[in-house]
Assembly symmetry: C2
């Protein structure tokens, strides 16, 4: 009876949503959610910050902020991004309501219905849904353990793509990081084009080996034509998703349109949490917190890898992650992910099947295991459940 | 060199943005901003709430919330909206990142490029920019002091509109509220159609006379076909804009699409401020705060009306507001608003010209004066500056 617009009429709820209600059930061991662990949040820091806010800061926290961000936060973020080698002085910064809003804005800037959008395959589900919501045609480019396949990228340029979305560092869901060589190859190809690039660096600070910077140098810091690249980041993994703050660093012409989009999206991001994030960053608490939490994530990753070596059949393959939240496991040939998931749910363990991250939803024989949100004692039990079921399924198919 | 999408290529910065940087200058008396006064925020309440949060609530505040909202907040909001006579049980509720996000989502649900959107003329600038961002063709329907012109509404239905956006209560910028009779007339006309209605009730709680409920009964509480209406509201005026929270109450079929849109916009609204808003509402602090703050806004409105009677030429006409933030003044015939604004800025007072709120940006001989954000002593001085300049301009034109 009511007529929906073209852009929403075919929108369907994703399978991941139903999975999530299952994944938060207390009896379930969940490797499904891409969120930090509640037990690891910097609650004391937040309390100290809140109770030291001046009256003026408390007032600012409840008032509108400029659309592009609370100025003290923008200043601190600039300093912090400069330390990563990012070209802060020749670009402009926008605070976004989570980095997903930044992806959505970038999609709105460039995607008309039926336009081709290039992504990695697999890719972040939030980005895929943003591109879908503008009726973009997503073309996924396969990855190996060093990053995107450059030959396939070259071929895909003939499709006249309107943007390229990549997550070169501690990829969600693939868990890997582009090698320095692959980063350079990608830039060499893309610099010849005027296809805008969105570089999503939501996990870049969660390196397990802080010295190994080659695995996480941002494309935007590396490129000779960096104006082509919008660099986006997030406080979700280094403070908390509930503050809903991310950022975009982008050239002036992209910035002006992005600001206008954001104006009609939500006028400004929450000032309340911008004031907290400003103080978290400016006080050095953020750097201390990140240094602490990434050691814990490394331990969990190591623990999960150990458990996999013990309990999974050796036909299941994976690359040891160097940072981030995820382990991306190739199942033994011919094993059905959906069937495996159904079986492990019955035993009390849940994960996300690989097809969720495929731009066309195709089954690919992979599963994503998140280690960020599960304490060590549960990791072993959960991995054992999954491994046992894999072995059973292999026996059956003999 | 980079090709922007159709929906953003013609986006232009609105004049109001430049005005705002001027309006926040400390030497300027501003009647421009549509925001609460920093001095009136419930800072003590927020401090009490924050420091009484349980560890579990603190953790929840930093974690993702469900896309449709933090469940305890949804429950309290439902109770609170039920008390306003709203059909909570036959509808569903979504927490949005400010009510502007709700407007943007509703626009996305129904507006394809070149579709006609009906609004009042004048209308809320944020809504106009949201409809423009979907390339809607906005058709404004004139208002008088009792609400929208019903004959013009009937005529406009022949344009095959995809939605109707209205703010029946304490209108921004018109300052007036629809009479009960006009509300019923509008519903009688619209109920014959299947045009979805977005009812924006951002100011409904700020009635100067709490007993006079006829002037603020929601259309969605009054309609026999309420499923046609999405009711939206906001914490911005009854708590603080910086928490960036609003809500939409809508029928199940609208809800399912709206949830999917929100999923790709920002995944969820800030949990941190949702936890605070939940406690503000559940503790009864919100009701006490609103009862206090609306008396202050009434005093400011009365004070502004008195000053206008003293300082404006009697050819300037207005309707005494019954609630909200705004006074909408018709200038003496032939007076140019832009010229008046230029002159009063030179003297230290600023307001917003009426064309800003006209869907086609046409000059209409009105100005909007906001009394929410200016203490009484400054109201008199500012109104005198504007009145003196009006009188000067009238003399000159003789």
């Amino acid at each position: 009876m009511y007529v929906f617009s073209d852009s929403v009429k075919d929108l369907r709820s994703s399978a991941i949503r139903d999975l999530m209600s299952l994944a938060t059930h207390p009896d379930m061991i969940s490797f499904a959610g891409g969120m930090p662990d509640n037990e690891l949040f910097p609650l004391e820091d937040v309390g100290e910050i809140f109770n030291s806010l001046s009256r003026r800061e408390q007032q600012a926290a409840l008032q509108y902020a400029p659309t592009t961000g609370y100025p003290p936060l923008l200043q601190e973020l600039e300093k912090w991004l400069r330390k990563k080698g990012l070209p802060v002085d020749t670009n402009r910064l926008i605070v976004t309501t989570g980095s997903l809003q930044g992806i959505n804005i970038f999609a709105k800037l460039f995607v008309n219905p039926n336009d081709v959008v290039l992504t990695e395959n697999p890719s972040f589900i939030g980005a895929l849904s943003a591109f879908n919501s503008y009726l973009g045609k997503i073309h996924g480019i396969p990855m190996d353990e060093e990053g995107m396949n450059i030959e396939k990228l070259k071929e895909a340029l003939s499709l006249n793509p309107k943007l390229l979305y990549v997550m070169p560092t501690f990829h969600n869901p693939a868990g890997t990081s582009y090698s320095l060589e692959r980063r350079k190859q990608l830039l060499a190809v893309m610099n010849e084009t005027s296809v805008p690039i969105l570089e999503d660096d939501a996990y870049g600070d969660l390196a397990f080996n802080a010295e190994d910077t080659a695995l996480r140098v941002p494309l935007k810091a590396l490129s000779e034509k960096e104006s082509q690249i919008c660099y986006s980041g997030s406080f979700s993994k280094i403070f908390g998703p509930g503050i809903r703050l991310g950022w975009m660093l982008l050239s002036d012409d992209f910035y002006r349109k992005a600001e206008l989009c954001k104006q009609s999206f939500d006028a400004c991001s929450p000032t309340f949490t911008q004031v907290l994030a400003y103080r978290f960053l400016a006080s050095g608490k953020l750097d201390r917190y990140v240094a602490w939490v990434r050691v814990i994530y490394k331990q969990r990753a190591d623990y999960m890898v150990d458990a996999i070596m013990r309990y999974f059949p050796e036909e299941a393959k994976f690359v040891r992650p160097q940072g981030g939240f995820y382990l991306w496991v190739k199942l033994p040939d011919g094993m059905d992910e959906q069937e495996l998931l159904k079986a492990t749910i019955a035993d009390g363990a849940v994960f996300v099947v690989g097809s969720t991250f495929d731009p066309s939803g195709t089954s690919n024989g992979y599963i994503r295991l998140s280690f960020s949100n599960t304490p060590e004692e549960k990791i072993e039990r959960g991995i054992r459940i999954i491994g046992d079921r894999m072995k059973q399924m292999m026996k059956k198919s003999l």
